[in-house]
Symmetry: C2
Subunit: 149 residues, 2 copies
DNA sequence: CTATATGTTACACAAACTGTAACATATAAA
DNA sequence: TTTATATGTTACAGTTTGTGTAACATATAG
């Protein structure tokens, strides 16, 4: 699926913006530091600007700035902003056309089940903030000042 | 994703076998009643035979028989038998190659998160039996003896 | 031996994703 | 006003992935 890379790429960009707040960072700069294609970054960050996770400014010395405190940004809103089709949208609906009675009932059953799962996933993500992610990754990252490198 | 159709198709076939137990049903017959391609059915049911959800017999008058009581067949084992790659396997691992320290840490973070979600989904499916599904779909299906048709 | 079933492989067609480029638009600064 | 540089959006070729179907080898009951 593609929700994964969009979500992780967005998170990588937002981590970089959190680290360099409040200096605006251009998509080219973020690309240089994360390895993510600049054009792709602009598409992701443009979506995140619409829900006020980042602010953007054009022109020279412009770029992207994290708009809120990392503790007030949670994964669920990033996920919803960046990904139109849900991760578990699962094309059961497409099959629900000319099916016999029992087949259609099974389709409905799974449609409902997957919707439940979808809700649970988003609920889980709603409790994960950018701040908590930053804490997690700085805790276990193989960074400088650690023995063994 | 493809896990959805494989799972729902398998369920449709198993529901049909449950209804007609213990008479063996050929892939052609199941195909006629479910609309699922016979060759695709054979591939699914062949996987389900390996974990003893169905028994198979070749030759004339052969076919597939549900091997266990529907109450002893749960969705999780169907799901795992039929789908090799996990629904939330999400290609973060593929990205974990030549990444800078922080990017790799974010990858690990999501890898762990998605693994957790995967476990929760399977746990949920472990409590759903074929019997409970049959009950659900017969309850809300627009079938005979219901008012309004 | 024959008819008929499963089990497995292969393949053409369609759909989706990826990575990248290109260009229109906006804006700060000279 | 002009210029340099940024975002926002669209397009597109290349690759991967999924789908639907056919074909054939294998096994088995009669």
């Amino acid at each position: 699926m593609s929700a994964s890379t969009k979500l992780s790429n967005s998170t990588k960009a937002l981590c970089f913006l959190a680290t360099n707040r409040p200096d605006p960072q251009s998509s080219a700069t973020i690309s240089r530091h994360t390895g993510i294609n600049a054009s792709k970054l602009r598409r992701l960050l443009s979506d995140l600007a619409k829900i006020d996770v980042v602010t953007t400014s054009k022109g020279a010395a412009g770029g992207y700035i994290l708009a809120r405190d990392p503790a007030d940004i949670h994964l669920q809103e990033i996920y919803c902003a960046v990904e139109d089709r849900k991760a578990f949208h699962l094309d059961v609906a497409a099959l629900a056309n000319g099916e016999t009675g029992e087949g259609a009932a099974v389709n409905r059953y799974f449609l409902e089940l997957f919707a439940e799962i979808q809700v649970e996933i988003e609920e889980k993500m709603r409790h994960l903030t950018l701040a908590s992610i930053l804490e997690s990754i700085s805790a276990d990252a193989p960074s400088p000042s650690l023995p063994g490198a």
